[in-house]
């Protein structure tokens, strides 16, 4: 009996943009049974055109706008923008201002990573860990509120320093919050990172080698999890990073579990950096007063910094007017969710897709801008 040849039909399954595990990121997966054959990312659901908007706004307004580049990690966006302007103008920011900036940026890194622990736990089915992590996130949000007046959008940094000074009360509250979070880290170790189910879901999943990671444009913890010792804070130090001591957390395995442990290690390093800066906080001025229509001189610069998700770069051109002529942002999540994610999910099961996606920690707002 002849067996009829049937055309093999593959199913196309959408991932996002209203999926709880995707954020506002959309992708189409071609699946064969449970195995993902191909993944096609469709970004753009959060595109707001910030790079163009910035050309029509003066610098104080652009600092407010820069917050929205990455909602979960706003401080590095502001820091990158103001540093690019200061680099063109050759402004020397007071030392206290620089310290305040890095304290808030490192607190922002802890905030971003704790949020990530919550989301990753949620997509893996640990709802309790999600609730606990988001409860701990409130500690840092309260510090943001105390220092900046805003909980999610700080609108805090400005060209020439920071917009507000930090008080002794803030320093005390920060020390208390850091002590609490340091204690919580051992809890997360027990509850999440050493949990048998978590390890089984994450180990040997989405593995890439160091060469692959470099070719795919990985930066930040995703690159360091593959054994590449590269951190902008150490290799091209900016602001006051040369004055603080910290370790660059690297792992060799390059899988989802190694990426998770890298981020967990970075929380501890950030806590140590904030403590060092708070202990050596200098007195004096914290900002240079500039007119709102202050214009940077004609020039061009490229500035890179280490955000929570990876290397964030700003390319700015100034034509001598109060508006920037052109601002180009290179977000870390762009390569994470558009290049590495489709590459890593090939051959994995559908159940592993959220685990791989969140082990890369991309921000949809960061991708689309």
């Amino acid at each position: 009996m002849d067996i009829e040849e049937k055309e093999i039909a593959f199913l196309t399954v959408p991932f996002g943009p209203q999926h709880p595990a995707s954020g506002h990121f959309h992708a189409l997966m071609k699946v064969d049974g449970e195995t993902v054959l191909e993944l096609e990312p469709h970004p753009g659901y959060l595109h707001r055109g910030f790079e163009k908007l910035m050309e029509y706004r003066i610098h104080p307004q652009n600092c407010v706008l820069a917050d929205r580049l990455d909602i979960l990690d706003p401080f590095p966006c502001e820091l990158g923008y103001v540093n690019a302007v200061e680099k063109i103008a050759g402004l020397e920011v007071p030392k206290r201002g620089r310290y305040i900036r890095i304290i808030m940026t490192e607190l922002g890194r802890i905030l971003s990573h704790i949020t990530w622990i919550g989301v990753l736990s949620m997509v893996l089915g640990f709802d309790s860990a999600n609730k606990i992590a988001w409860g701990d996130r409130e500690k840092i949000i309260r510090l943001n509120e105390m220092a900046t007046g805003g909980r999610i959008y700080p609108c805090y940094l400005c060209v020439g320093g920071a917009r507000r000074d930090i008080s002794q009360e803030f320093v005390d509250e920060t020390s208390k919050a850091l002590d609490y979070l340091e204690g919580q880290l051992s809890f997360y170790d027990y509850f999440v990172f050493k949990n048998e189910t978590f390890v089984m879901r994450m180990e040997k999943v989405g593995r890439m080698t160091a060469e692959e990671a470099i070719d795919l444009g990985a930066t930040g913890p995703n690159l360091r999890a593959c054994g590449v010792d590269y951190d902008v804070r150490k290799d091209e130090p900016y602001e006051v990073y040369p004055e603080v001591e910290f370790n660059v957390i690297t792992r060799e395995e390059g899988d989802a579990y190694a990426r998770s442990l890298c981020r967990r290690g970075e929380i501890a390093e950030s806590i140590s950096i904030v403590r060092q800066l708070l202990n050596n906080l200098p007195d004096g001025a914290f900002r240079i007063e500039l007119s709102p229509v202050w214009a940077a001189p004609e020039g061009e610069c490229y500035f890179c910094l280490e955000a929570a998700r990876g290397e964030k770069c700003f390319h700015m051109v100034s034509d001598g007017s109060p508006f920037p002529y052109r601002v180009k942002v290179r977000p870390p999540s762009l390569s994470h969710s558009l290049v590495q994610f489709p590459y890593l999910v090939k051959g994995n099961t559908i159940a592993d897709v959220p685990a791989i996606y969140w082990s890369l920690d991309p921000g949809p707002a960061d991708v689309d801008r």
């Binding site: 706004r57 307004q61 706008l65 509120e145 007046g149 805003g150 959008y153 709102p292």
Partner: protein
């Protein structure tokens, strides 16, 4: 032969979930909103307040506002700024660049309204008068 380490590991894993029972004697992490809520701190950026005597009518606030949420309005024969809270992004630039410290952001954070008109702050003898609940 079963090792002691294996046994103690199994024992701690078996009884670890019961550690959750201690939460019965703890305060809950959440608050029963709207009956109770976390009060905003003193420096929180909330609803605007205007000092009519200090305001010189220079409208620097209107020019610096990134969202164009502030525009002039007539009151008592003079022009004062008026704020649309629906457009405001709470960046505090109006307060920062006001030369007379006339416009300020207060810690009022509860602003609920069902229509666009009542999101605009009205003007009264004491400065801004909220129209929302």
């Amino acid at each position: 032969m079963i090792k002691m380490g294996y046994l103690s590991d199994k024992f701690s894993r078996t009884f670890a979930p019961f550690g959750i029972l201690k939460n019965l004697f703890k305060k809950p992490m959440t608050l029963q909103f709207p009956y109770e809520s976390l009060p905003p701190l003193a420096d929180y950026r909330g609803r605007h307040a205007l000092d009519l005597e200090k305001c010189a009518g220079c409208f620097i606030c209107s020019m610096i506002c990134p969202n164009k949420a502030i525009w002039p309005a007539e009151f008592n024969g003079r022009r004062y700024p008026q704020v649309d809270l629906g457009k405001c992004c709470w960046c505090q630039l109006c307060e920062e660049y006001c030369p007379n410290e006339a416009i300020k952001l207060t810690p009022h954070s509860m602003m609920v309204t069902m229509d666009k008109e009542s999101a605009i702050l009205g003007l009264g003898e004491e400065g801004f008068v909220p129209r929302h609940k």
